[in-house]
């Protein structure tokens, strides 16, 4: 399974690994989130072995979402070496995400 579903602990572990990480913050009631879900799944397959791609359900992890300043969903965060390197808010074409991933491989 290339796509991870993170709770707070799993999220921290992935980020602290220092690897390139992409995390999609979403919720079941959010149409735009459901719309980009297949894109995120595809990226998880495409970047398997190169980046950790995962999702956080903001409803399940409200404290983590608040701590990271998630104020609108979908929001996609990118991390490398344990630090946030980019964030994309709202629905964007897949290229917007691959551009960040490719630049940081």
């Amino acid at each position: 399974m290339a796509l991870y579903h993170f709770n707070q602990e799993g999220f921290e572990k992935a980020v602290n690994s220092g690897d390139l990480v992409m995390v999609d913050f979403w919720a079941t009631w959010c149409g735009p989130c459901r719309m980009i879900a297949p894109v995120v799944e595809e990226l998880a397959r495409q970047y398997e072995g190169k980046a950790i791609v995962g999702k956080v359900d903001t409803d399940q992890e409200p404290a983590l979402s608040m701590q990271l300043g998630i104020s609108s969903i979908p929001t996609i965060l990118f991390y490398k070496d344990g630090k946030e390197i980019d964030r994309k808010v709202g629905v964007m074409p897949a290229q917007a995400y691959t551009a960040v991933l490719d630049a940081n491989l």
Partner: protein
């Protein structure tokens, strides 16, 4: 999965839907309530060929009935976002996602320019979707700028979630829960530092964690990234095709004159060309033309 998704329930969108249904294509119209269509505000329309003297509401009711009688389906709400993926289009409406093979944009014109601070704080305390983002603001003060018929219901929903809601518009809507604070204002500005911190409404600051801007429709460029514009309008060719394959546009969103006849004519072309784009038509249905 629909053959064609039409975004917008005004004359252009309904005309496109009628044409596509006449060619036996399945059609979903995504639109707010009828009173959000600008035509419904027109007291009397005298320049629509052969039907002078009707009110805007009567006209839009006739157009809607025509489309419904031909079997066009309808989803009430605001299309928030659209994207192309593997030969199909996905459109997010609140918590729903609609799927179609071609897209016709008939969104009308955005009502006025963006507010100062709107683009700057979008995604950082400015939201277009109460359904999506409301839960992130439970227990916090939020402002709803209500510019659509559906906005009072969305404000009520936010209050039910546990948000502390202040509703801002010109006049207090009847459907708004009496317990929701109301501020009448027209000059609006979103202010803050890293995040939106307040809405300035006619000079008065209303502190909040999020400003929900609820208009009848999204501007097409916000709806679907990558659409080419011509000034403030969508760029289209004689086939009403935009620069994105499978995406057509009609009506006020393509430019002047903002008139019913022009919208209906463009809707017809967009409907036909969207059917052409889909390829060989299904067998003709009887009695729907």
């Amino acid at each position: 999965m629909y053959d064609i998704i039409v975004i917008g329930g005004g004359p252009a969108g309904l005309s496109a839907a009628v044409q596509a249904r006449s060619r036996n294509r399945s059609v979903l119209i995504i639109s707010g309530q009828e009173r959000d269509v600008p035509l419904s505000q027109a007291g009397r329309v005298n320049n629509y060929l052969g039907m002078p003297g009707l009110s805007g509401r009567e006209l839009i009711a006739r157009f809607s009935t025509h489309a419904a009688q031909l079997g066009a389906e309808r989803m009430e709400g605001r299309a928030l976002s659209a994207m192309a993926t593997s030969g199909r289009f996905l459109v997010a409406v609140g918590s729903e996602v609609a799927e179609g093979r071609a897209l016709i944009l008939a969104t009308g014109v955005a009502h006025g320019p963006k507010y100062p601070g709107e683009s700057e704080f979008l995604g950082r305390g400015v939201s277009y979707c109460a359904t999506c983002d409301g839960m992130l603001y439970r227990g916090k003060p939020v402002v709803v700028v209500g510019a659509s018929a559906q906005a009072p219901e969305e404000a009520n929903f936010l209050q039910e979630l546990g948000c502390q809601v202040t509703y801002v518009s010109r006049t207090r809507p009847e459907a708004l829960q009496p317990s929701i604070d109301f501020v009448s204002a027209v000059r609006l500005e979103i202010v803050g530092d890293q995040q939106a911190a307040a809405l300035r409404a006619d000079g008065r600051e209303i502190p909040c964690a999020c400003v929900f801007l609820l208009r009848p429709s999204m501007a097409p460029a916000d709806l679907m990234p990558g659409l080419a514009l011509s000034g403030p309008y969508l760029q289209v060719d004689r086939d009403m095709a935009t620069n994105l394959p499978g995406v057509f546009a009609a009506g006020d969103c393509t430019g002047l004159p903002l008139q019913i006849s022009k919208a209906v004519g463009e809707g017809l072309i967009a409907g036909h060309r969207a059917c052409d784009y889909l390829g060989n038509p299904p067998p003709p249905a009887s009695n729907i033309c």
